[in-house]
Symmetry: C2
Subunit: 324 residues, 2 copies
């Protein structure tokens, strides 16, 4: 594979090149991995940045409808939008490849949009790495906005928070009791909470829910990366489009404020360092699944299971083999 | 420190030796770690097994009252009972050292019982290792039963499930809607579900809740390690003692069945292998916090944060240094 040609294609914003580049970084083959590293290093020189927007929400809250409506609005305004999905359940279900695209019919046909379903991969660590790298590819391909979507399951939200600039939480109208169902952890990473379905019969409930969450947010401590008034809660309707323009204005003004005040750059620097450290950890652990360590691990593991050896002692023996 | 003398003391069931041995395995000092490994290896030769009982339940369900009543009943029957706690929040709160003991006043004064509060430790991995090793020490000290308690937070339950023979879930009487609040994951590891507070006004609710859970359990697939009728649900009252004898009978018969059918040994073998592999993983990662890797990680991390270097490329460089 000609990595330079592929890099040129991605840099030109060519969709087929981007799709091929994504397939390359998602490959588990060792030679592909080397090419992927070369590609990423070469593209990093472009120093293009998109707005990386994280989006989380439990199933049924209307995420696909929201992305469709929100994304089309942005592409109509001339922006190029990439949509990526992290689906922690995809390891079991085989991914939501068809689901994602059919639920975003207009956006998926939009030449300014690029929708990539979640890679199916058994390890969360692997999903994080691939998604991070796909984000970098989309940035290099000149997208203005990269939206990283996940369902509201703890670990995947933390992962998305670690790779986005701004985090949106999409919620459904709910009774006051149900507020507790939203985990504190996600409230702490959310920059903007959108209460969807603020239309028709549900509108009063959505308004009330928005007010309830606004109150709940005040209980969280102020974060230095927030201008006054943030994190913020807004009622929206993905169905009618009400509130979507306002939501985008809030996102844009938050992004501008963070850029002006150095928080944007600081967050990206922290994230890059965190990714580096995570890559190192995963790389170290990967040695366990390669020879010669794999064989030793297997043999000692059998002796431990058979009771001939203590787990701690066997581990110490193996670790001594790999040196300090 | 004379490790042989300490091992003899533990093997004799001497409480002060056990306490000192626990302090040793909980120490982070390198020389202590070596002594701890020697101690554990030497004691493993005794090949003593206690019944390791995991116990989980959300705060407010009456865990301490249950342990006090259940534990005293067992010590009165001549059994020696050790109670350990895994508290995932203890890293922040500084542990529940006083809380645990004062809430189990009778049991903590009982010469046949030994209560050890949760170690405070920032890493879950570290908590797991220490608790596993403390369990091994208690077994070597001749306890008949080691009860490992945790509050109902996902990760710590998985951890306890990986170190116990039988897992109890303690629940409070609840309305039907609230059944969903119990995570499927914990239902899948529970062997016996006890609905507490089946006394006074709450008795009808507890009976109803028990019936509801019994129904819910039937939706889970049958596990090969279960005799017919398991997992089982029982209403109990830690307050009045009602149902505690029955709960113990169920535990004892389940334990006997699993021993007779080889599941007990198979589970212990799997657990031992899992601990070995986890020790190896933790040991590999620990190298990152020691020189020379710590310094390189720090220097490369700064370059990545400063944008001079791509995260993936920096990670590849560091990993190349440690060889294959």
């Amino acid at each position: 594979m000609d990595v330079n040609a592929l890099a040129d294609g991605v840099a030109d914003g060519d969709r087929r090149s981007l799709a091929r580049a994504i397939t390359l970084v998602e490959s588990a083959r060792a030679d592909h991995r080397e090419q992927a590293l070369a590609l990423l290093s070469s593209l990093r020189g472009l120093d293009r940045q998109a707005l990386r927007l994280g989006l989380s929400g439990t199933p049924g809250v209307g995420k696909s409808t929201f992305i469709e409506a929100f994304g089309c609005r942005l592409t109509e305004a001339g922006k190029r939008v990439a949509v990526l999905a992290i689906d922690p359940s995809s390891a079991r279900t085989g991914g939501s490849i068809l689901g994602d695209k059919t639920r975003m019919e207009r956006l998926s046909r939009d030449p300014r949009a690029f929708i990539r379903p979640s890679p199916s991969q058994s390890q969360m660590g692997g999903v994080a790495r691939r998604t991070r790298e796909v984000v970098a590819l989309c940035e290099a391909a000149g997208f203005d906005l990269v939206l990283i979507e996940t369902v509201g399951v703890g670990q995947s939200e933390t992962m998305v928070a670690q790779m986005c600039d701004i985090f949106l939480l999409l919620l459904a109208p709910a009774g006051g009791d149900e507020l507790q169902g939203v985990k504190r952890g996600i409230m702490e990473v959310a920059d903007l909470i959108l209460v969807n379905k603020a239309d028709g019969d549900l509108k009063p409930a959505a308004m009330r829910t928005a007010a309830d969450y606004a109150l709940a947010l005040r209980l969280l401590r102020h974060r230095p990366q927030d201008p006054p008034g943030f994190p913020k809660v807004l009622p929206v309707s993905a169905e009618t489009g009400d509130g979507l323009a306002g939501a985008w204005d809030e996102i844009a003004s938050l992004a501008a404020w963070r850029r002006e005040n150095g928080h944007w750059q600081a967050r990206r620097a922290d994230q890059a360092r965190g990714w580096f450290e995570e890559e190192v950890r995963q790389g170290l652990l990967a040695r366990l699944s390669r020879e010669p360590m794999r064989g030793v691990l297997e043999r000692l593991g059998q002796e431990v299971a058979g009771g001939q050896r203590a787990p701690e002692a066997a581990a110490a023996e193996l670790l001594a083999m790999v040196g300090r």
